[in-house]
Symmetry: C2
């Protein structure tokens, strides 16, 4: 934990706010430290007492003669600032502020939090909290916490570290994990995150040798790029990062805003960051438990082919139902495997997948047969993972299954998961054997499928992220570009200007000419009919509404009439509008309309989105996005995610469309979005036609960042 | 259980196949009956023994002098038929056949099953199984079962009855329920369902006074209409029916076919039957547990407004995230409520929804405040249900919460659910109080939301099904119609014939004229251009491919040319095709294309489907279906389910379309589908244009049932 080592393994802790009232946070902290056998020094602080729990009690932090690594503050909000000031003067490196009454409680609290941070920054003191439950270093018995974290059951030591913005709910997850036998390293509740935030802690935990898996619950982050970075670093270091992003729905986000005053951003951007970094998203307590169990096994299937074997046919069907949408399939077994199975499975069973071992197969007398069956199945080249449904199998049978599977698991790289529905009290012995062998036991076939699918996806994500991370680094090195004419700041660019900028960035645009009147209709001879004309005016946003658009122009005479008409319409319906001319363009036919664009988000920086065009697609939200910049492989993955993707390959006898060109255009747009991040607020290409040969941006809008360009842009390398 | 009472409460049971081998099914049955205190007579049967477990052992069923209500058969497959024969001769009313080796095991087994059924039918003997684990009547201690059903833990008596096609997996669900404190009435594994099937048993359980809730796991049914009927009857009797339909995915269905040889049908039809009967679908073991807990409370929210209160802000956000897509919202609280809360909640809490009671609120000293807060919230008219997050609250606090909530719950019709993450061992006392008060305690906020959403949906479904059931009865009374010309059997009807039939059924069709050649182009004067022409031939299925369609015809001269062209194209590209003429129709512009149709399914009878037209919609599967016949309210619900629904209301300045006309057309189509069920195999209306005024079927195909019309049609009243 490098720079945070004196925070999480402090040699001495001052606890400000101890009291005769055992319920007070300060009192709870001291007792938790004592009860759990903290080996460093404890300095209770309260001017009212001489002694606390048999220890000397100090009148203030300043009175402590020795060095203090961590000051824990549990006094009411109004009393916090003087303590922070004193700790800063004493050069205490870390403060943990449990007290509420800060940003979450209104204007007075906001100001209090600002001042607190100012004092801390002045001395270089780092702060956890305020408004949090504290933290526990389970391995080192440091319980700098109050409330649920300090109560029974005590978490057992293990390799999972938990970072949570909500101490209460985060600890609910920890308790479920504890009940499932999962052990912990660090448990840290971050509260308001005035200074040290969840992302910084995850970053530090990646370098903690004792932490193998990181579990986090967050309601928001103020730096989406940092989240992406820690995700990628965790992946590179082989430490799975499981993240629960709460507040994903509109009402959830509202609740978040009123709860922790965390900065929330659109869930889509989080989702993009997860994909681009291999962060494993969780959405339910049981899911966290299942995934941790499966990840502790440390084996990842190299594909989605699963062999399901067991004594319950229904369980296999349920596994298949849940596995299919998650990308798993019940693979075919080779003839060799089936022959091996035939020799050890009764005739009324089944040697194809799902393998029916027949009732009562898990028994002591059958140990050798079971071993042969499992080995043959694991050795099948089509099989990437095995799910064994022991289902309701009782004490004796489950021990046989656990022993046989445990022995075989050691010599195979393919993961094995087990579904058991027998009461834990009945099969405790088997569960212990499974646990020792790192074979996860799940309480339903669907959850077994979910855990296996996650493992397979994680392996895929690792390959994807490794490639994309390398590629992204070189792309980010590109210098910021200056794309705008100076006078463009603050207003929307004209279609013509926008298209010129995008064309320069490598995105094909339509063949346009701007004319000033009918006398220039001669451009007809240089273009391919049918044509479209559109009024050009900085003051007319919705051209169609003023009769400013005419389509399907097939002759020069029609073009002359159309130019005259749109100019006349604009004069009549928008008499005050400044008219820059009339844009003449070739009507694009055939192909499929996409919409592509850029949003320069406060939290995530430039994000590129692409989706299917048209009203129907819009209703369905057939879109996806990624944080810019990204390469063509990522661009292609985005297109492959769209529900409309199959249309691009040509359906109902239509020609295949140029997916490669769309891919290049998206990657170019992402590079443009990155390089122009100081200037560009939004880009909207609608439609982006995908044609049998090439793509064409038929209309485009660029909105500058305007007055925000002077502010730091998230994701800017500094 | 009326007609099955001697099956499930037999006065005497003969068990054929007892043996010294305790593992043999027959031996297990006798021991389970004895161990559980069965009060009737037991007749063990095996010619090899004089005695079994101290009882007289009979050489055969025929040798038993007394009446036998139930014969349980556990001998190997080959020995089953003679026993069935003997039981039939002895006029035993019921047989339970545990043995495998029937339909599921190949041709020989199929023949064995057929013969078995023939013998039984001859005497009127009814059969459960073969290839099943048996059943247990928990209240009456009748354990006519072997395997997991007879092992520890013994299920406690209760009001839930379970019917399962898979004994193994079904009992996995039962074990999870047992662990959650849910008690059972009947547990019945049906196996191959040669005779008595799951649907018939559910039907009987509806009339069982001791059964309040029915839980079923099925992989398929042979009579979808019967499933619909029992669902509606269960709803009418106020007994929730929870059903897990496994084999919903393609690979799941494949697994089902190889497992039980159950007849499976498209999952969409099951889904329609669930909607039309209020069957509560379950897809996971935990979901069954949660739903049963919630349903045992017997209170149903009258809307989706939920007040969330508790000590964990994160839990409230997670509830909101899960609740929103399920139709729940965190409602606004009235000023009156907020004022009441203000008086009893500390200042650092929150009196808006979610209500933050602040940490430590659940304590003995705070009992009166808690009571006031909960009462005020429950009395708020915007609140339809309350979720109390006690989260990690420990032993003492949880007891306070349980006692206060338990007391208040008794005087309110609004359901209360609780989220607790404390270990069950720690808060056992509170859990007991909650259980006595029928307040479900769920282990995550998402699961609390899921349970509440189900309760709200069930109440809605009840109103919907009551109305639709009444309406459907009158519709079903309509006599079957004879819609076809005699020569239409077995082939696809021409577009013109199909449209004529649909028009007669009340579905508006396009204004078409069939001409034989250019000399009849005079029809132009009677029609509204633009027009479309299509070749008419019983031998040309894909008109476009032979150049048989021309669109956008604006003048009589163009019409003449088009008629000549399509005739010539057909002559050249399909020289052997019989040409009936050329269909001239008005081109329909504006509006939105739907696709509507009928499938006359073997299992479910006539089903009407509707969906959005166009390639994109097709890719996304924006369709829904219902079993015919149904009324306009149901038709409207179908349209409201479509993702494209909002387009019909007019988007982007387009006029609203005639949803009422589309509704009428769908209801008419369903009535037609029902009345023509003996003759019509499929109807495909593509497109069905929804216009600003009215709808028009612009193309239609009707495929007769052909050779299948002589077979019984599922759903036919008999």
């Amino acid at each position: 934990m490098n720079k945070f080592s004196h925070l999480f393994e402090p040699r001495s802790i001052a606890v400000v706010g101890v009291s005769d009232d055992v319920a007070r946070p300060g009192s709870q902290v001291v007792r938790a430290l004592l009860k759990n056998g903290y080996s460093g020094k404890i300095f209770p602080v309260n001017p009212k007492y001489e002694q606390f729990d048999g220890m000397k009690c100090y009148g203030s932090v300043a009175e402590i003669e020795e060095d203090v690594d961590l000051v824990v503050i549990g006094v009411p909000a109004k009393g916090v600032l003087p303590v922070v000031e004193m700790a800063a003067e004493k050069r205490v490196p870390f403060a943990l502020i449990l007290s509420g009454g800060f940003r979450e409680s209104g204007p007075e609290g906001v100001e209090r939090e600002r001042k607190m941070l100012e004092i801390a920054r002045g001395s270089g003191m780092r702060i956890v909290g305020p408004n949090c439950l504290g933290f526990a270093n389970i391995h080192a018995n440091v319980y700098a916490a109050f409330g649920s974290i300090t109560r029974e059951p005590k978490l057992k030591p293990g390799s999972v570290s938990l970072v949570t913005q909500s101490g209460g709910f985060g600890y609910s997850i920890a308790l479920a994990c504890e009940a499932a036998g999962i052990g912990f390293r660090h448990v840290i509740a971050t509260g308001n995150e005035s200074d040290i935030d969840a992302v910084q802690l995850i970053d530090a935990l990646i370098d903690d040798d004792e932490t193998k898996i990181i579990l986090a619950y967050i309601e928001g982050t103020r730096d989406g790029r940092a989240l992406l970075d820690v995700g990628q670093r965790a992946m590179a270091r082989g430490k799975p990062l499981l993240l629960w992003k709460a507040g994903v729905t509109e009402q959830g986000a509202r609740a978040a805003a009123s709860h922790t005053a965390s900065m929330t951003s659109s869930y889509d951007y989080y989702s993009a960051a997860f994909k681009q970094s291999g962060i494993v998203e969780i959405r339910e307590i049981d899911q966290a438990v299942d995934y941790l169990k499966a990840l502790e096994g440390g084996k990842y299937p190299s594909g989605g082919g699963v062999a399901v074997m067991g004594v319950s046919g229904g369980s296999a069907i349920v596994f298949a139902d849940a596995g299919e949408p998650a990308g798993l399939s019940l693979c075919e077994l080779t003839e060799k495997t089936q022959a091996s199975l035939q020799a050890v499975i009764p005739n009324i069973g089944a040697v194809h997948n799902p393998i029916d071992l027949t009732a009562g197969y898990f028994s002591a007398g059958n140990r050798a047969n079971l071993e042969t069956a499992v080995r043959a199945t694991l050795e099948d080249p089509n099989v990437h993972a095995v799910c064994v449904n022991i289902a309701t199998t009782g004490k004796a049978g489950s021990v046989v299954a656990a022993e046989v599977l445990g022995e075989i698991a050691g010599s195979s790289e393919k993961p094995i998961v087990v579904f058991s529905s027998a009461p834990a009290g009945q099969i405790g012995e088997a569960l212990a054997v499974f646990a020792r062998s790192n074979i996860p036991v799940l309480p339903s076939p669907s959850r077994a499928a979910g855990a296996l699918a996650m493992l397979a996806n994680y392996r895929q994500a690792r390959a994807r992220v490794e490639r994309a991370t390398a590629s992204s680094a070189s792309r980010q090195a590109a210098a910021p570009s200056e794309v705008f004419p100076r006078n463009a700041q603050g207003a929307s660019l004209s279609e013509a200007d926008a298209k010129a900028i995008l064309a320069a960035a490598g995105i094909p645009v339509s063949n346009d000419v701007i004319v000033s009147g009918v006398e220039e209709a001669v451009v007809f001879d240089r273009m391919t009919a049918p044509l479209v004309v559109k009024i050009v005016s900085p003051d007319i946003a919705h051209k169609t509404e003023v009769g400013g658009v005419k389509v399907g122009i097939r002759t020069r005479a029609e073009l002359e009439a159309a130019i005259a008409e749109v100019l006349e319409n604009a004069r009549q319906k928008a008499p005050a509008a400044r008219i820059s001319g009339v844009l003449v363009t070739e009507m694009i036919q055939g192909g499929f309309e996409l919409i592509a664009g850029v949003v320069n988000d406060e939290v995530f920086g430039p994000v590129v989105a692409v989706g299917a065009g048209g009203i129907y697609a819009e209703l369905l939200g057939d879109t996806t996005c990624r944080l810019a910049p990204f390469d063509e492989v990522t661009a292609r993955e985005m297109l492959d995610e769209l529900k409309c993707r199959r249309i691009l390959d040509g359906v109902r006898g239509k020609p295949a469309l140029d997916v490669e060109a769309a891919t290049r255009a998206l990657a170019a747009l992402s590079q443009f979005a990155w390089e122009s991040r100081h200037q560009v607020g939004e880009v909207d290409i609608n439609p982006l036609f995908v044609l049998p040969n090439g793509v064409v941006a038929a209309d485009a809008v660029i909105i500058p960042r305007g007055n925000t360009t002077s502010q730091p842009v998230s994701g800017d390398p500094s």
